[in-house]
């Protein structure tokens, strides 16, 4: 039992926080504890959840991708255009997902093969892909989307919206991917020590590119959910969403330096954020306070454990040591390594 607690301490803490948040939310508003309402409110978070799961392997590898909302926009606009043009969803969806995966692969290539810093690269593609989305969408965006495409947003299994089921399925898929495949093992290895991984014959470049492509594909899927839920598609879809997605991933216990973190953590943190936001909105707490609460939650949840450790004197483990950045400036770039290998 004690082993279980220790191994899952992060997740148990999140569960505890969720319970607290739920209690607080239900005290704020009598409408909170209705399961239908809860599930309906939860659908607002599906898009962020999908992007968070897509971001998760990338962060585990010690990188970052802030261009995901822009890829969502491209995906949603392409799907919108396809719908209006009468293309059947079965044909359009795989194509659009492939395009979005391609956008992600471009990020991955620049980061992994060319060796550019991921924050800078995805900062650039954040703007570039957003521009592409606007150009495709045109001025007014896309309206008149056919019911085939919006079905995902208006179908229920019992009282559970299908989009929520999708989130759970995706979460399970990622959990399996990271725990039971070589991709998962390689990802954690790279996140812990990229240089050593490379010398240990881990296919670093390929694993990185796959992670980024997967993130892109998830954003494309989120684009489908957007189109389904909101029945429209514009170039500015999900602009600025990355902050919330990043918050969800970090709150879920995934270390931003890479090498650790679990899907369950990300899922639980999403549930926590959803519980808090929904509770506050049902009680009509002013939006300004909502922002404050989320910001404080982030800082407190990461700062308090560290502060406690600090006071207990375990200072050495807390120094902001940037051990071997996943691929730092002094690592030979993959191109150089290839040449060396001959």
């Amino acid at each position: 039992m004690r082993q279980f607690v220790r191994r899952n301490s992060g997740e148990l803490l999140l569960v505890g926080l969720i319970v607290l948040a739920a209690v607080w939310s239900s005290s704020l508003s009598p409408y909170f504890l209705d399961p239908v309402n809860l599930l309906s409110s939860a659908t607002s978070f599906v898009i962020f959840a999908l992007m968070a799961f897509g971001l998760y392997p990338v962060v585990v590898q010690g990188e970052i991708d802030i261009s995901l909302p822009s890829t969502l926009a491209v995906g949603s606009v392409l799907l919108g255009k396809a719908s209006v043009a009468g293309v059947p969803l079965a044909l359009a969806l795989p194509l659009v997902l492939a395009v979005c995966a391609g956008l992600g692969a471009l990020n991955g290539y620049l980061v992994a093969a060319v060796g550019l810093p991921s924050l800078a690269v995805t900062l650039g593609t954040l703007g570039a892909y957003r521009g592409v989305a606007y150009i495709i969408a045109g001025d007014a965006g896309v309206v008149g989307i056919t019911p085939e495409y919006t079905a995902l947003g208006s179908t229920w299994i019992g009282i559970v919206p299908v989009s929520i089921v999708l989130v759970l399925a995706v979460a399970a898929g990622f959990a399996l991917l990271m725990s039971a495949t070589s991709f998962g093992r390689y990802s954690f290895a790279i996140g812990n020590n990229a240089a050593a991984s490379r010398m240990g014959a881990v296919p670093v470049v390929r694993t990185r590119v796959v992670a980024y492509s997967l993130a892109g594909a998830m954003s494309g899927l989120a684009g489908l959910v957007w189109v389904a839920q909101y029945q429209s598609a514009r170039g500015d879809n999900a602009d600025g969403a990355i902050l919330f997605v990043l918050t969800a991933v970090v709150l879920g216990g995934v270390s931003i330096k890479g090498g650790s973190g679990r899907v369950a953590g990300v899922l639980l943190s999403l549930i926590l954020l959803a519980t808090l936001q929904t509770g506050m909105q049902l009680a009509n707490v002013p939006g300004t306070s909502q922002t404050l609460v989320i910001g404080c939650l982030l800082v407190v949840s990461l700062g308090v454990p560290r502060a406690i450790a600090l006071f207990r004197g375990r200072r050495r483990t807390l120094a902001p040591v940037r051990t071997d950045p996943p691929h730092g400036p002094d690592d030979p770039t993959p191109a150089v390594l290839e040449k060396q290998r001959g």
């Binding site: 508003s29 409408y31 209705d34 239908v36 309402n37 309906s40 409110s41 659908t43 607002s44 898009i47 606007y134 001025d139 007014a140 965006g141 309206v143 079905a151 947003g153 208006s154 179908t155 229920w156 299994i157 019992g158 009282i159 299908v162 089921v165 959990a175 399996l176 725990s179 039971a180 495949t181 839920q229 909101y230 029945q231 429209s232 514009r234 170039g235 500015d236 879809n237 999900a238 602009d239 600025g240 969403a241 679990r262 899907v263 369950a264 936001q277 929904t278 909105q281 049902l282 009509n284 002013p286 939006g287 300004t288 909502q290 922002t291």
Partner: protein, 352 residues
């Protein structure tokens, strides 16, 4: 989370997945489940509260409209709540509205950031018996009962052009700054302004730059664009914007650049934002309407609709007391149509 090795229990896992999928497909339905809360209907209890949801709560313009709504609620004896995120984010507004529905207000008064994206949520609200009235920025026509339009698009366009002519009676070249290409009112304004300049003899002295610039209601971006517009068009005389953030910001940019008197910014703005410009003579005129009265009319219309006193049919009359009487027009649009022109003579008489 899944500590087992790759090949163990594989058949069991596949079986579970298939079974769950089969159940899911069988259980699918496309009718939304009903919440267990008591349904709203007509009658006394339903009239008790109205929610006003602006685009976002951080803008002074919406704050003034809120005051009008609060006053209407007071006069009508109903509860009033002001809801929304403090950021201009469409997903946040949709979440706000989704969470407003279970609270069973009698009506929602909404200014939509993305008129199409909020439509599903608004339709859901209407399905549950909640009346939906949009103000300031419309949503999809079939998702709301009424739209209280501050100025018909034609009136808005001609008012801004009139303000332009007041600034520069000899006319001249004009450039347009809008909030975003997806804002239907701004795009309509620009389209009609271009039309009027092309066809109406009253505005024949004006010409325009065809490319519209977008500043996203951001003051700093509006300034940068205004500066660049002046550089790109040395003969520029006017910068016109429907955005209450961009119009005064552009004027400030003109003043900063020392071009006050050569170039003029105008359009819609709160009098408090442009009081100094008008008094100093940098600009001769800005336009707007009374946001408080707009809020008052919208809230009154929503309340009357919820109480069953009026319907959304064309020709119905809304009696907003001191704020006047209004008739419902085509497609549920109620035109408020009371533009105000702020000039040196009257700028001090406005408190907002």
């Amino acid at each position: 989370m899944f500590p087992f090795a790759r090949h163990r229990h594989r058949r069991a896992r596949i079986a579970t997945v298939l079974a769950t999928a089969a159940l899911a497909v069988v259980g699918c339905s496309s009718t939304p489940p009903q919440a267990s809360a008591p349904p709203a209907g007509g009658g006394e209890a339903a009239n008790s509260k109205i929610f006003m949801a602006p685009k976002f709560t951080g803008l002074a313009y919406f704050e003034v409209a809120k005051e009008g709504g609060e006053k209407a609620a007071q006069d009508l004896g109903i509860d009033f709540q002001y809801i929304g995120s403090d950021k201009p984010d469409a997903t946040a507004q949709i979440a706000t509205l989704t969470n407003a529905i279970p609270q069973r207000p009698a009506a929602l008064v909404v200014s939509a950031i993305d008129g199409d994206a909020v439509a599903p949520a608004l339709r859901q609200a209407r399905q549950q018996g909640i009346k939906v009235v949009t103000y300031d920025a419309d949503a999809a026509v079939d998702s709301r009962d009424l739209f209280v339009n501050q100025l018909s698009y034609e009136l808005a366009a001609s008012t801004m052009l009139d303000a332009a002519l007041m600034n520069s009676p000899q006319g001249g070249k004009a450039a347009f700054i809008s909030a975003s290409p997806t804002a239907p009112n701004h795009t309509a304004h620009v389209r009609i302004m271009k039309q009027l300049i092309d066809t109406d003899p009253k505005y024949s002295s004006l010409s325009y730059v065809d490319t519209v610039q977008y500043a996203g209601d951001d003051a700093q971006k509006s300034q940068e664009i205004a500066l660049n517009l002046m550089q790109a068009n040395p003969d520029l005389k006017l910068i016109i914007s429907s955005s209450a953030v961009s119009a005064p910001a552009a004027e400030q940019a003109i003043v900063n650049a020392g071009k006050s008197g050569q170039v003029f910014a105008t359009g819609f703005a709160l009098p408090s934002s442009v009081r100094d410009f008008i008094k100093n003579g940098n600009s001769a005129a800005f336009a707007l309407w009374d946001p408080a009265e707009l809020g008052y009319v919208a809230t009154t219309a929503a309340s009357q609709l919820a109480a069953g006193k009026i319907t959304a049919a064309e020709g119905q009359e809304i009696d907003a007391g001191a704020a006047g009487k209004y008739t419902v027009g085509k497609d549920g649009e109620v035109q408020y149509n009371k533009p105000l022109m702020f000039t040196k003579d009257n700028i001090d008489s406005f408190s907002y």
